[in-house]
Amino acid sequence: MAARKLTAGRILEVLSSGSRALAGRDERVLVRVHVDATCPRGLARCVRDALVPERGTGDVEVLPLAAPPVGADAPDVALVLVGDGPCAELVGSYARAGVPVAMVVEGALDAPRLELPEQAAALVGTVAASSPEALLDKLAEWLAASCDKDLALAANFAFCRRAVSDALVARCALENAAVGAISLIPGSDLPVMCVNQAKLALELAAAHGLEVRPERALDLVGVVGAGLVWRALARRLVSLVPGVGALLKAGVAYGGTLATGAAVRLHVSADAAPAPAAGPGGQRAPAARLPAPGEAPPPPPAARAPGVPPAPPYCLLYTSDAARAPRGRGVRHHRGRRVMRARRECLFDRLEPLLARVEHPGRYLDHEWGSVSEQDGPFHLCMVYADVYEVGQPNLGVAILYNQVNAQEGMSCERCYLPWKDMAALMREEGVPLLSLESASPLASFDAVGFTLAHELIATNVLEALDLAGIALTSAERDEDDPIILAGGPSAWNCEPIADVFDAVLLGDGEESIVDACACIRDARAEGLSRADVLRRLARVPGTYVPSLYEVRVDETSTRWGYAAPLPGEDVPAVVLKRCVNDFAATPAVAQRIVPYVGIVQDRLSLEVLRGCARGCRFCQAGMTYRPVRERPAEQVVSGGVEGLLASGHNEISLTSLSTTDHSQCARILNEMNAALEGKGIRVSIPSQRLDAFGVEMAAAVAGGKRGGLTFAPEAGSQRLRDVINKNVTEEDLERAARNAFEGGWRRMKLYFMIGLPTETDEDVVGIARMAERVLEIGREVVGRGVRSGVSVSISVAVLVPKAYTPFQWCGQLAPDEVRRRQRLLLSEIRDRAIRVSYHDADVSLVEGALSRMGRAGFPLVRRAWELGCTFDAWTSEFDVSRWERAAADCGLDLADVACEDFPLTARLPWDHTSPGVDAGFLQREWRRAVEGVTTPDCTRATCAGCGVCPTLGVRNVIQGVRS
């Protein structure tokens, strides 16, 4: 960069010109206006309105025509508004005294004739304008040309700025042209010209009344650096066209400087524009500005004309003292408007000293095996999983998008994870922003940032990540140049509570839509579109929901959270349908290529064998939203798995999907895989098996190694209730599965249940206990009765959280008191000590339930919860329900009231506009069948159930074999 090539002498020049610019800006300037009573009213009014000083250093005196001429304190410039009266004398006296004077007239012929010596005549100008706008422009031009104190004038009077800036730029351009012409040694003219441009930048800043600091000049070198392109061009032209070189270079230098000057002026004048009104719920407290060392403190803004807003403070992003001040929560630090996006640079050396002071520093290390270290871009995306590395690294969604974007020409993708609380506190203290992993660049320097919405409770972590990165929390508060914040993932189906945060939400399968979205952003930015227009373009990408283009309406057809409809005049669909990749076999088998150094939550290779599930369990959002069912062919699974294991070195492979045992070729896959991995000490595991598919062969096939606990999820304690939730497993299925498992060598069984299901009675709750006892009995029968047989059953009970796009979406959650009563009931029914009961925290479910049901009006709750310190809510050690309750009280909400509210079947719901393609009528039919206890078959095994996904999205199930 040019800054680094500057010698000490040059830097002094810049600094001194900076202080000269400062001095120039702060000079006192006195403008005297003589008004003839008969002058045109319009012009007079216009001049009067324009000549309102914004700083304390400008003074304007308005006098009638007959006032005494120049006295002891001569003004710096005089204006005479000419009418019918005689003014030639007055004008002459000013001119002879050396004061530039302008006659403001409507037509050039109105100006009086003057007889003056040449020197004095040069100081007289005629500003003739018939309309106020033309008047101001011409007056400004004259002022810039005639008055010495142009910087002070510009700093005080807004209408002069453009003209003064133009004059400065032109002067600098001429200088640069001269420099360019004189030195013919290639490369030697660079420092001089860039210094000139740096000086120009400082002068322009001063002209706009802004703080002039040397760091500012260096910061604007980014813009100046663009000027280097011009010089590079010139050099190449010189080499091609000998002889004409000097002239060419000079011309390019001139033009280049003009362009650069224009760019700088645009940036600077944007800075000086009045700040927009504060966003909803936002507190705009300007950061405290401390004077740079050696600089006098800025003059207090005294004597400011009413109605003129103060210039907002300019904060250099990571070096301002405001960023370094330790910030407590609840005191939201709002950064002033930035001129440019954060610089993309490697800041690892600022993070490194902190590693010695935190827990488990290995989680902040990068360059893992398999990570993509060439991040050339030029389009840069960063995928963020808003939790610590160990939790976020195994996430398949991030891995898939990472590979997809890195494979594209011209795009690259990095990862970012949230630092743990100790590191986050240190980073805030030391002013280190949130950095990506691969290149340690600040998150705020990327073109786009993508968040994975893995579950509802990640919302506060998303806010924490944005705050650590220094990006404004809501879409409305962001600057033109800020990164575009995207989101997607399993929890995007009701993203309304945090919709305000995101610029765009990608629904459904992300493989193709992320590339489309990135290409759209890149092209739109290249065309120079404004941020709002970039978002409008994004809304055209299929499957993209742009919340800012929709408004929330509450009326008698909706619930209290209303529904979202396109803003009038915006060309966006009323319902955004998800993207669906139908050719699943075309996607790579093993998405997870990165092998982390540290131990992570699931330290194994994941292979997605199947996407979608059509079993139709009525509580399951994933089943409804991931349709249609697409299987991966067995050959691809086996070869991909073996190849992936050899490439990664893991000793365990996990065949992941929503229900792997439903894969029509599951048995074949397991057998072939076990055969291929014989003798290598590698385990094959399946995350969870369906009860009705756990046969003897399955038990043997999945063995392969350690026999720990086996998990099944019957979900409900009685057959009636299981039919209500459409979980089509019977008592016999459970008994058979348990018997097979115990005979296969397992000793510990874990059973998952839910309470709070619709139409649940106490009998059903007691049924849970009976089921557990039955399984224990089978275990004792098969293995033995003694304590040392090791047979144990543990049941885990969670509260149902009704989710969007399930047939239970209209139900409210079970009330907290009733939850506690049923939990006690269950506990009292368990009499055998070998059965352990554990509860998923009901408070966590309450918060999840609230977040699942709210509309956009719920964002203040999320924000307030974060301000009060809620982060890492998915961690049982970190979750604190009292903080959430306080946040709710602060927003006038009650968590139980929100989560337990029933919605009428006919109401318009807050999430109707983001759809996975499931028909609303289908969901209502399913609800009625649920209430009557009628089951619905699986469409991959029986006939179509009419959910509507296939016709709406134009997709179909892809089954490799035959499902039994």
């Binding site: 290390l365 360059h367 050899l646 070195g649």
Partner: protein
């Protein structure tokens, strides 16, 4: 892959571990990975061995671990140019080939430098390597090289050093663990060389020694210190033996 595991035969027919080929690999731990803990390092190296497709031997225990032994753990924050591990192979592949495939399968920051076969019945690596040499680089030290040596002399005179590790207090006997210390100044940075020996109780960490020396001089602890292990050796009857040999005739050690 040779004999399939689990082994189907009589227990007395199982191959004896001591007779399996023992490949000793020297590798470095670059500064970038200085903060990788030892447990994570173990898991990483295991995966590298799998990726390199070496015919590693798996233990017969319940956990079925790869038969690999590491040299003593580096303190977190230290880098090294001489870390070692011994891996038992079921086949005796060419050492150069093994090194090449290991290098291709390991991240640069942990790149293996040298690989050779060593006698199978040597004692366990961690216990066998009892002498270490360290280099410390202290960029912003408040005292000079001579003062630092004086501080260390004072600490040594005290005989014993106690420090807090997490919540627990640890005692280090300096007479047996601290072999040598010398400091020199180079371009504003104080560089110190420390020789340590594995003692009967806790081992001496160079950072701890530095902190103790500075507090003995009444100076606040230093920041930004870089610790690097530069050599590991075996000491017996006054001689120093290199990790790759030549190995003398020692008294037979228990099977490792």
């Amino acid at each position: 892959m040779s004999s399939a595991q689990p082994f189907s035969g009589r227990p007395q027919d199982l191959p004896v571990k001591a007779d399996l080929a023992r490949l000793r690999v020297e590798y470095g731990k670059a500064e970038r990975l200085a903060y990788l803990g030892h447990l994570d390092l173990i898991a990483t190296v295991e995966r590298c061995i799998r990726r390199a497709r070496l015919p590693f031997s798996i233990g017969n225990g319940y956990a079925r671990r790869v038969r690999i032994q590491f040299s003593s753990a580096l303190p977190v924050g230290a880098s090294s140019s001489c870390e070692y591990f011994d891996v038992r192979l079921t086949e005796r592949v060419d050492a150069r080939e093994a090194l090449r495939s290991l290098r291709a399968a390991t991240p640069e920051a942990l790149a293996p430098l040298r690989a050779e076969y060593v006698p199978g019945r040597l004692p366990a690596l961690e216990a066998w390597l009892d002498r270490s040499s360290w280099e410390l680089a202290c960029p912003r030290l408040a005292v000079g090289a001579e003062d630092l040596e004086e501080g260390v002399r004072r600490v040594r005179a005290a005989g014993e050093l106690t420090y807090l590790r997490g919540e627990r207090e640890k005692r280090v006997d300096l007479a047996s663990t601290l072999v040598g210390f010398e400091a020199r100044e180079e371009g504003g940075v104080v560089r110190a060389r420390v020789e340590t020996r594995v003692g009967a109780t806790a081992s001496l960490r160079p950072q701890v020694l530095l902190d103790a020396a500075l507090s003995a001089l009444g100076v606040p602890p230093a920041t930004g210190v870089r610790v690097r292990r530069t050599a590991q050796l075996h000491e017996e009857s006054g001689r120093l033996v290199e990790p790759f040999g030549p190995f003398g005739n020692e008294a037979p050690a228990p099977l490792s």
